[in-house]
Amino acid sequence: MNLRDNLPLREKLAAEYVLGTLKGGARRRFEGWMHNDAALRRTTSEWQQRLAPLAEFSAAQKPRAQVWRGIERRLNLTPPARFWQFWRNESLLFWRALGLASTAIAALLIVVLAGRTLEAPTINYVATLTDEKSQGAMLLTADSAHHELDARLLAGVAVADDKTLQLWAVPAKGAPRSLGIVADNHSAKLTLPAYAIGGDVALIAVTLEPKGGSRDPNGAPSGPIVYKGNWVKLM
């Protein structure tokens, strides 16, 4: 049988191969033909693309948490080291874990601050943002009564001249909201909007953006997160 020139037969067999009704010897023969026939492989994947969405007709059902734990165990997955470009996820597990780590560091810094630079008692929020190695990189102090936000890089942190650091409040749901840029890559005095310290803020993040800040048309971050942390409210 000359399959190569029989277009309707090629279509029929590919469709039934994908549907599953092509069985036994016929199925194995078809697989043999596919092996040597790129066009037939393409026809078959087109049918896969047409029929596979049938799988989505079933209502979604949540598997138990142990399924993921089993996957993690079997694949020996280590905690993720990369975390940028995941603005769109609603899963805050990861962000929250980060928040905890930096809270501890921030608490330490408050003591230092209180002894040295805390001139006005109006500063009521502090955050220490850390890099991917959990090293402190930027200190934020905020005065919610006067809507002031002060950001400064810690000693030893360098930023390339053609880049700009941009601050974001990342809410539990929805897109990050910009808090402004650190124009001189050293320190910045910014206005503190209410959304920066709102109850739904899951994380404060700093991204590395092109000079002048993100040019994303939707006002979203375009670069990787380099520092992140959480507010600690002072008494």
């Binding site: 039934e16 009704t21 896969q48 693309q49 969405p53 799988a55 059902q61």
Partner: protein, 196 residues
């Protein structure tokens, strides 16, 4: 708004799948979060037993991680690729275990069809389907009920022509021609919707 993005948005899934190929465990986790419920629903549909469906889901995601590098985005959308893995794993398990499953000869996917016929009652959006699945659902709804059922029996239960014939108590020749015609009509219908 970013938060309104369909969780099964192929672009997003593709990014996570590419992340998984680079051994990015977080991307893989996000892929799991976005797709596991849908894929589990599918596995349950085939296997009917939660423990079996969970075993298949776990094996499937292990395979997704191990084979993410060979995923070819020009050949299949991420959901197509992953549902194919789940389907193969589910049928493998059935063959291995000699487990007898229930075969639902019920009206094929009444929920989806209801949503198509009366979007007021059940918005099709509520079923969380990708755009591909919505298009296919629409085209399936144009088939005759019994033909649709024959296609569904073959797809979800790995039945041969003669087994479908047995289930529906009709001659095998009829099943063959129903399925052949249904597949042709689906192809034409989907192509039309793509051009539209």
């Amino acid at each position: 708004m970013l938060s309104d993005v369909n969780p099964l948005d192929p672009q997003q899934l593709r990014l996570w799948l590419q992340g998984a190929a680079r051994r990015d465990a977080l991307a893989f986790r996000l892929l799991y979060d976005a797709t596991s419920s849908k894929l589990f629903g599918f596995a349950l549909r085939i296997l009917h037993k939660r423990e079996l469906a969970e075993e298949v889901l776990q094996e499937s995601f292990v395979a997704v991680w191990n084979n993410a590098g060979s995923y070819q985005s020009h050949l299949a959308s991420p959901m197509t690729w992953m549902t194919t893995i789940v389907r193969n794993k589910a049928f493998d398990l059935l063959r291995r275990s000699n487990e007898a499953t229930e075969i639902d000869g019920e009206q094929f996917d009444s929920e989806v069809l209801d949503a198509l016929h009366d979007p007021q009652a059940t918005p099709i959006e509520a079923l969380e389907m990708s755009a591909d699945a919505k298009a296919l659902a629409w085209c399936m709804s144009t088939l005759e009920g019994a033909h649709r059922q024959a296609v569904g029996l073959a797809f979800f239960h790995d039945l041969s022509h003669s087994e479908v014939a047995q289930q529906l108590a009709i001659p095998i020749g009829t099943v063959k021609s129903w399925i052949r015609r249904s597949l042709e009509r689906l192809k034409t219908c989907l192509a039309k919707r793509e051009r539209a």
